[in-house]
Point group: C2
Chain length 154, copies 2
DNA sequence: TTATAAAACTTTAAGCTTGAAATAAATTCC
DNA sequence: GGAATTTATTTCAAGCTTAAAGTTTTATAA
């Protein structure tokens, strides 16, 4: 999917855009993953989960996390398991609904995330250095049109 | 990594752009993966490898594939193994350098890919339907500035 | 030569990912 | 109330992914 169109014709420009979009995000993602590993001995999925929790001090349900992060339920289970075993996150059983549990960052998890997020932001600024802040805003606006048309249609 | 900035400040616009870029590509990628599975019982990584090989009838080395697809060597080994066992691809030992082998699509693989690629292009056109062909060209141009600054610096 | 290094791959261990099946608790409907 | 359904989550099997270590072959150089 990272290869270009195999022929010419209508719709080719969108295909080309998709290829480029994918290559850009894969390249940047790979670089961030490598740095997270080297500098903080963590992974992107763990960072994602912690970022989501950092914004919700009251906690999130497993299903909230999976919906927000665009990954499957089973996937979140494994990542949270590992974060719990590392002492960065807790699962709190709830009285109201015993099927669910609230996932929260521990104090250590919160501190740890803040440090990683600061580095992460600098890295992204660096990796997207060729894009001016102004151009970044315009691109961001254009990317909004990706949603809405088909997403969440069913 | 799919969550937004956790505070305000300089560099935030690039971070926001990165989040949006990542969410867009994950959403589209997920939809394509699902359709490839449902309609053709295949996966994105296999599609990627076949797409690369389709453009190189003379064949590619394992290292060519891994460099082109931006994935690790060991990764390509596994995917090609599976494609070989499905009869879609062959590994041809070479006389010149016995460490390497040329990977090629079989005739069946080539036919199979052509059919999948046609559907794939229609899907992408559909998923990016909100982006006009003209806007697609402009976005593609802007995405070019992602490269060059830091990529392949070491 | 013939040791040494480099290159091309494969293997391995650990973790990520999905969809489907299984479990368990809550809700809905007679 | 009790059966049937829905909801929230976990478990499972298969496959993807990486970095690191191992294998085999080729190239370099003393």
């Amino acid at each position: 999917m990272v290869a270009g169109p195999t022929s010419a014709g209508p719709g080719k420009d969108r295909l080309r855009l998709w290829i480029r979009l994918l290559r850009a995000s894969r390249t940047i993602e790979a670089e961030l993953r490598e740095r997270l590993k080297k500098e903080f001995d963590t992974t992107l999925p763990r960072f994602d989960v912690m970022a989501a929790l950092y914004r919700s001090p009251e906690g999130m349900l497993m299903s909230d996390l999976s919906r927000f992060l665009l990954v499957s339920n089973g996937n979140v289970t494994g990542i949270v398991d590992r974060l719990v075993s590392e002492g960065l996150v807790t699962r709190a059983r709830r009285n109201g609904d015993r099927r669910t549990s609230m996932v929260r960052l521990t104090e250590e998890g919160s501190k740890s995330f803040a440090a990683i997020a600061a580095a992460h932001e600098i890295w992204v600024g660096e990796l997207l250095g060729n894009v001016s802040e102004d151009e970044a805003r315009r691109l961001t606006g254009m990317l909004k049109s990706f949603r809405s048309n088909w997403e969440g249609r069913e």
